[in-house]
Every structure is written in structure tokens, then in C-alpha cells.
Symmetry: C2
């Protein structure tokens, strides 16, 4: 009888299809206008169904939003999860950066939804950040510290290092309009992506100060 009951009940074909359509439409709206700015009417319209019908699947606006955020966070943490302690430090970081950049390219709406929520002070997911995000970052910060102690990467604050990877990569999703205005229409989306990837690789590996190290002759050093 009740579709949205918490009971352990398997979902109908129609239920799965409609929930999918609703969440997709909601992602479109919430990611652009934030929680308050988005309206059920527009989400329903975008999903091609009546408002009461939408509310049959998700009782309240907030329920849609929370479903969206929950599934988002899992996907969002994947790249960092994959950062491998036993891998080679620099290539490992490099591929982390690339994975994050790919996510910005392939899931810009998810990136914006997340940005919007944090921008608003994360009222609805602060708990989740503390229970899910923080422990993961703590764990990976230790991995980075290990690499630094072994002299494999420059000794810096590992958490700020992670921030800089997040911010530089997500920038291409969150600030896409601005990026396009500045880069102009010359290069398409694919070109912009490759330019960004190449630049970030140089930035994170070499920095901006020029010298001969770019020929990449690894020399073991103290500390």
C-alpha cells in the first residue's frame, strides 16, 4: 500500500523508474538553486509528473534532497578511497588528481550539489562529514605523512594538500561558466579537460619555479 514505507519491502518496477527520474530531475534543480531555491513544482515538471505524484514517492522536499546527498557522498569519496598506501607516491597522487578531474568532468551536477550544500554551511550533512569524510581524510593524511617521511614527496600539510586537489579539480565543474567565459570557445570541453590535466600535473609535481628537475632524474635524498 505504502510505497515510501521504511519497511523491508522490495520495490516495484514503476517505483524504481520513477524514483530514478525524480532524483535526476532533483539533481538538476538542487545543484543549481540549492535547497531553498529549488522547488518541488519545477522538479516534478522536469521529471514529467504531477507534483502530488512526486510527493507519493518522496513525502517531503527534504527527503529527495537527502536521498540525493546520501548516494552522492559515497561516489564522491571513491577517488580518495582508492589512494593506495603501497603504490608509488607521485604516480599515485597523479592518478588521484586525474580521477578527481574526471569526476568534475563527468559529474558536474553532483559536484555543484555538493558545493551548494557546503556553501550553505552543510546544515544537512555536517554529521555525515564528521562521521564519513573526516575519518577517511585522517587515514589518508597518515598515508601522505608516511610518504613525506620517506622523502617521496615534499613535506607539507597533508590536509591542505588534499584541499588543494579538491579545489583545483572541482573548480572546473563548479565554476564552469566562468572557465568557459575566460577560455573562450576555441577549445571544446575535451580540450579544456586535457589542458587542465596537463597544467595540474605540472603544478602539483613541479610547481612554478623553473629549474632542471623537469628532466625527472630521481635522486634519493636525506629526510
Amino acid at each position: 500500500m505504502k510505497a515510501r514505507a521504511t519497511e523491508t519491502q522490495r520495490k516495484t518496477r514503476i517505483q524504481m523508474e520513477n524514483e530514478e527520474r525524480i532524483l535526476d530531475a532533483a539533481l538538476e534543480e538542487f545543484s543549481v538553486h540549492g535547497f531553498r531555491g529549488a522547488t518541488i513544482d519545477r522538479i516534478a515538471e522536469h521529471a514529467g509528473m504531477s507534483k502530488p505524484n512526486l510527493l507519493y514517492y518522496f513525502r517531503r522536499k527534504q527527503d529527495i534532497y537527502e536521498s540525493l546527498i546520501a548516494r552522492l557522498l559515497v561516489k564522491w569519496l571513491e577517488p580518495l578511497q582508492e589512494l593506495d598506501a603501497v603504490g608509488d607516491p607521485l604516480p599515485e597522487l597523479q592518478s588521484y588528481i586525474r580521477r578527481k578531474l574526471e569526476m568534475a568532468r563527468d559529474f558536474p551536477r553532483e559536484s555543484r550539489l555538493f558545493a551548494n550544500e557546503i556553501l550553505q554551511g552543510a546544515p544537512r550533512i555536517k554529521r555525515l562529514l564528521e562521521s564519513e569524510l573526516k575519518p577517511l581524510v585522517d587515514e589518508k593524511a597518515e598515508v601522505l605523512k608516511g610518504w613525506m617521511k620517506a622523502g617521496k614527496i615534499n613535506p607539507v600539510d597533508p590536509r591542505h594538500l588534499i584541499f588543494s586537489i579538491w579545489s583545483t579539480t572541482q573548480h572546473y565543474a563548479d565554476f564552469d561558466v566562468q572557465v568557459q567565459v575566460i577560455l573562450g570557445p576555441d577549445r571544446g570541453a575535451a580540450g579544456r579537460f586535457e589542458d587542465a590535466a596537463r597544467y595540474l600535473e605540472t603544478l602539483f609535481l613541479e610547481g612554478l619555479r623553473p629549474n632542471e628537475k623537469t628532466v625527472a632524474a630521481p635522486r634519493p635524498l636525506e629526510g
Copy 2:
């Protein structure tokens, strides 16, 4: 008679005071909830005046928003304006990064307002970005290219370099909640700022690959 007339008329003491209070309250609301999510009622309440009184100074919601954005953009471009072509490249970049970081620290609401607008696709300021921001970036990109040709900084895409400075610094304003969750309460705001400044200096100058160059022995190289 009309306070909000476009006529060249000087403003009353009360007018200036109230417009200031309104804009400050509006910044608070718009920066968190975006244009749609913010309401005139809340802005009026925050400004300590009745809604009709607020609407006496700004006829429409959009007028407040546009006033806010207009004055914001000018301030926002200042640091980049100051990037000096005749200065020493690396210190010049370093102080640009620091100025941006200081703005993120001192004007987080402005940063969030801007982020919110861009996230929404910049519907209200795309024109301004094209007419104000793009030419400035183009100009400074040329400056950076000059430095690269002179071998003063590593040859990278200058526009992406600018993006990375914007994103890494503004991250501390826009994603402040997340930053605080991850860094924990140990270090206060001032400590976080100094840590960020130190980290970004290392990142942008040295990158993460460790080697002996940190002793900073400038050697002229081929172009």
C-alpha cells in the same frame, strides 16, 4: 520625493545608512541561500526594518542583488589588477596568492556570494564577466606568458594557473565548514590561515616532487 530615483541627486544620511544596512543583511542571506533561496522578509528582518521600508530603498529583490554584485566584482578583481608586470615574477605571484587568501579570510561572504552566482550559471553577471573579468585575465595572462618566455617561471597555461590560484584560495572561504570539520578545532582561524599560506607557497613554488632545488640557487636557462 523618490529616494531610489536614478536622478543625479545626493543621498541623505539616512539613505546611506539604511542602504548599507540592507546590503549587509542581503549579503548575509544571498551568500548562503543564493538568489532564489533568499527572501526579502529575512533580509528585512536581518536589517532590522520592515519589508515595505526595505522596498522603499530597493524596489525589487533583484535590485539589491545587483547592487551587491556590482560593488563585489570591483573588489574581487583588485588583487589581480595589482599583479605587476615589472615586478619580480615569483614574489609577485606569491603576493598575489597571499592577497587572494587574505580576501578569502576577510570577505568570506563576498566569496560565497560570487560562488553562488557562478554555480547558478552566472545568469545575472555573465555579461559583466565577459566585459570586465575576461579582458583583465587576458591582459594578465600575457604578463605571465612574458615571464615564462623569460624563463622566470615554468611554462604552463597561464589561464589555468590563474584558475588554480582562485580555486585554492577561495576554497577556504567557500568550503569553510568542510575545512573546519577536517582540520578539527585544534588550530584557530588565524592558525589555519597561516598553515594554508605556507602550504600554498610550497605548492605553487616547489610542487610536491622533492629535490635539492629548495635551496633556491637561481640558474638562468634557455627560453
